[in-house]
């Protein structure tokens, strides 16, 4: 036990003396949370929409007023009026505008006569997010335009009444569980296994391999000190990250305790996974080369940024074995739904068993020689 503590002490003392490392491992994931949270989460605004009115009737005028109302209020798009269709379409093809709405010559007449009046929308569909936003807004606008001033008293239309169980979740909150796991993972990458590889590269390991320390003591020492660092970064994200993401009641004690439990289990799982992956590696460049890829392979299939239900089957298989999936799931329960311990049990079990297996296999594979 004392030997394990000595390895932990050595590592943590070194860590404490490297403020840059502390800042990198604790604060960078926060930056990531904010940048990603706002990069993905926002509503599309100020798309440039060309309007070509070839009708000039009163109903067309009303329609154009509605466009302007959207431009002034929701600001999904700004309208630009074109006199002729050719110029508008050329500007669309050359990327100066995102779409063209054309009000055809007979629009007003057909509208007043009830003869299926049609509007045309030509859109730049290379950016799905923009085109979806544009179509959505225009569809709403048309629906409002079509509404009768006095609705019929009896309607045969079926409607859906939606009950939302939780308050509105902005994307940055949706991303927070993933960011917590990522912060833990970043620390796991710079702790544990890679410390031993760096020791090997510098020859420091010869120093302690000649002492009577056992394999498992060495591995536990490295993993536990790595886990301590990962837990610290995780806790920064759990507290500061929750505040930044605007999670309601971020310092609820019961939730913090459950969060802590998740952070500890996740840290142990990820750090032992990293140690296992690095157990036979000696070249200090290898971990640096695989970290980027590993990050992508583990983070994105976990459902942290996009729902697993949208993945192709092969990617779902990755997400089933990926410890990130369970960690992200557990944190989502806590951050977004503030559940009790019950729904976390499968996640905690998976992560715990994963940690034990990874560490045992690492101990078997570890070579206590040069």
């Amino acid at each position: 036990m004392n030997r394990i503590l000595a390895i932990i002490e050595r590592d943590l003392r070194r860590f404490r003396r490297s403020p840059t490392l502390i800042i990198v491992s604790m604060l960078l994931p926060l930056v990531q949370l904010v940048v990603l949270g706002y990069a993905f989460g926002g509503k599309v605004k100020h798309l440039r929409l060309g309007v070509v009115d070839q009708d000039h009737g009163v109903p067309a005028l009303r329609l154009k007023e509605m466009f302007q109302a959207v431009a002034a209020n929701a600001r999904t798009f700004d309208t630009i009026t074109y006199v002729d269709r050719g110029t508008a379409l050329r500007d669309l093809r050359e990327g100066r505008i995102g779409g063209v709405v054309e009000i055809p010559p007979e629009f007003s007449r057909k509208f007043l006569a009830g003869q299926n009046p049609q509007l045309a929308l030509a859109e730049d569909n290379t950016d799905q997010f923009n085109s979806t936003a544009l179509e959505g807004t225009l569809n709403q606008l048309i629906a409002a335009y079509n509404q009768k001033p006095v609705p019929p008293r009896i309607s045969a239309n079926a409607t859906l009444a939606v009950v939302e169980l939780y308050p509105y979740v902005p994307y940055i909150q949706y991303l927070l569980p993933g960011s917590i796991v990522l912060a833990i993972f970043v620390s796991a990458m710079i702790g544990g296994g890679i410390i031993y590889i760096d020791d090997k590269a510098r020859g420091l390991h010869e120093g302690y391999l000649v002492t009577p320390i056992r394999k498992y003591e060495l591995i536990l020492g490295f993993n536990l000190s790595g886990a301590v660092k990962a837990i610290l970064s995780g806790l920064v994200l759990v507290t500061l990250g929750s505040v930044i993401a605007g999670v309601p009641d971020p310092f609820n004690l019961a939730r913090l305790v459950r969060m802590f439990l998740m952070v500890v289990t996740t840290a142990l799982a990820l750090i032992s996974m990293m140690f296992l992956l690095m157990v036979r590696v000696s070249d200090p460049l290898v971990p640096r080369a695989i970290f980027g890829v590993l990050n992508t392979v583990l983070f994105f299939p976990s459902g942290a940024v996009y729902p697993i239900q949208a993945f192709p089957p092969w990617m779902r298989i990755i997400s089933i074995v990926d410890p990130f999936t369970y960690a992200v799931h557990g944190f989502k329960q806590l951050v977004l739904k503030n559940t009790g311990l019950g729904p976390l049990v499968p996640d905690l079990l998976f992560l715990g068993i994963f940690a034990v297996i990874a560490m045992s296999v690492a101990t078997l594979l570890f070579r206590r020689t040069l």
Binding site: R3, A6, R17, G203, G207, P212, S282
Partner: protein, 329 residues
């Protein structure tokens, strides 16, 4: 019983034989030197004896424990100073020592006492709380020697303890080792490629070349074992026919070796041979370009037994250069 007993110990890395059937024993209280050029197999031998590298064949016992069957008992009884500096640069001298004391399982009280004593013994007391990255090479080496003694081992292994140190630091390390040995009743096995170091420090010296033991005795006896009292190193402006035979025929000459137009002449009487040599050169009409006369040193012993000077050679590659991702030793 000897403190270290090595029998037919061999280590191969693929086709490369780093240590080739070495056998010797080191008695209690002895300072035993392994002398050889870089790549002779000294470090591999020390790494086998300190349980860092498993031998390919043969056996060795350290403090009575088999290095393969009872590695942890071996580790508990030895102190090791590897060739590379292994102290943590970010930690202070005292922290470095304390962590190793904990790795050896020393209880708190004893830890404190031993660390103070040892830092004093290696003259680093006043730097105890300074980070090692501020230390010079010599200070760092002294700290590592202190660290290697923290669990009060009986047998002390040092792999080239003074390589890379300036002459003053080297002498300081020698004196410290000598004192520690007396005070702590240590058996020391030290490798070096410095002749003067081996000469000054060691009770007995094993000369190792290409993984094989080529000579083993005390420095005095080794020096006495080779012919001649003096060595003349001489070169000439040109070389007449059968010049080597002429040199061999000079008075008191025991042996002549030549390489690169430099002749090494072993002589029982340096001054007399020198005079005769000058005379012979004058008669042959050639000039002596350079000449030096020395007493026999371990260098000469080494050259005598190995047939060459200390020189560089290939050594076993470090682990991570061997494979692409994984080491395969």
């Amino acid at each position: 019983m000897a403190d270290i007993e090595v029998s037919q110990l061999t280590k191969r890395f693929g086709d490369f034989v780093a240590v080739n059937e070495l056998s010797f024993s080191v008695q209690h209280g002895e300072v035993f030197g392994l002398l050889g050029p870089n790549g002779a197999g000294k470090s591999t031998l020390i790494r086998m004896l300190t349980t860092l590298v498993p031998p390919t064949s043969g056996t060795a016992r350290v403090n009575g424990f088999d290095i393969v069957r009872a590695p942890n008992s071996v580790r508990q009884s030895i102190g090791v100073i590897p060739q590379a500096m292994t102290s943590d640069l970010d930690l202070s001298a005292e922290e470095n020592m304390s962590i190793f004391a904990k790795l050896y399982g020393l209880p708190h009280e004893r830890r404190k006492r031993v660390i103070q004593e040892l830092l004093k013994a290696v003259d680093l007391e006043q730097w105890a709380d300074k980070p090692v990255k501020m230390f010079s090479g010599g200070m760092r080496r002294r700290l590592e020697i202190a660290r290697g003694l923290v669990h009060e081992p009986k047998i002390f292994f040092l792999d080239e303890p003074t390589t890379g140190l300036d002459p003053v630091s080297r002498v300081a390390v020698w004196e410290m080792l000598e004192r520690l040995r007396r005070e702590r009743d240590l058996t020391i096995l030290v490798t070096t490629h410095y002749m003067d170091e081996a000469d000054k420090l060691c009770d007995r010296i094993a000369i190792v070349d290409h993984g094989k033991l080529v000579a083993l005795d005390s420095p005095l006896k080794l020096k006495a074992s080779i012919p001649g009292e003096n060595i003349l190193e001489v070169s000439f402006s040109s070389l007449p026919q059968d010049w080597e035979a002429t040199l061999k025929a000079l008075p008191d000459v025991v042996d002549v070796k030549s390489s690169d137009h430099i002749f090494r002449i072993s002589s029982q009487n340096g001054p007399r041979t020198t005079v005769a040599l000058m005379e012979a050169a004058r008669k042959a009409g050639i000039q002596v370009s350079s000449l030096s006369v020395q007493s026999t040193t371990l260098d000469d012993v080494f050259a005598h037994y190995t047939g060459h000077q200390l020189r560089d050679a290939l050594q076993a590659p470090p682990g991570y250069a061997v494979g692409f991702m994984y080491d395969r030793q």
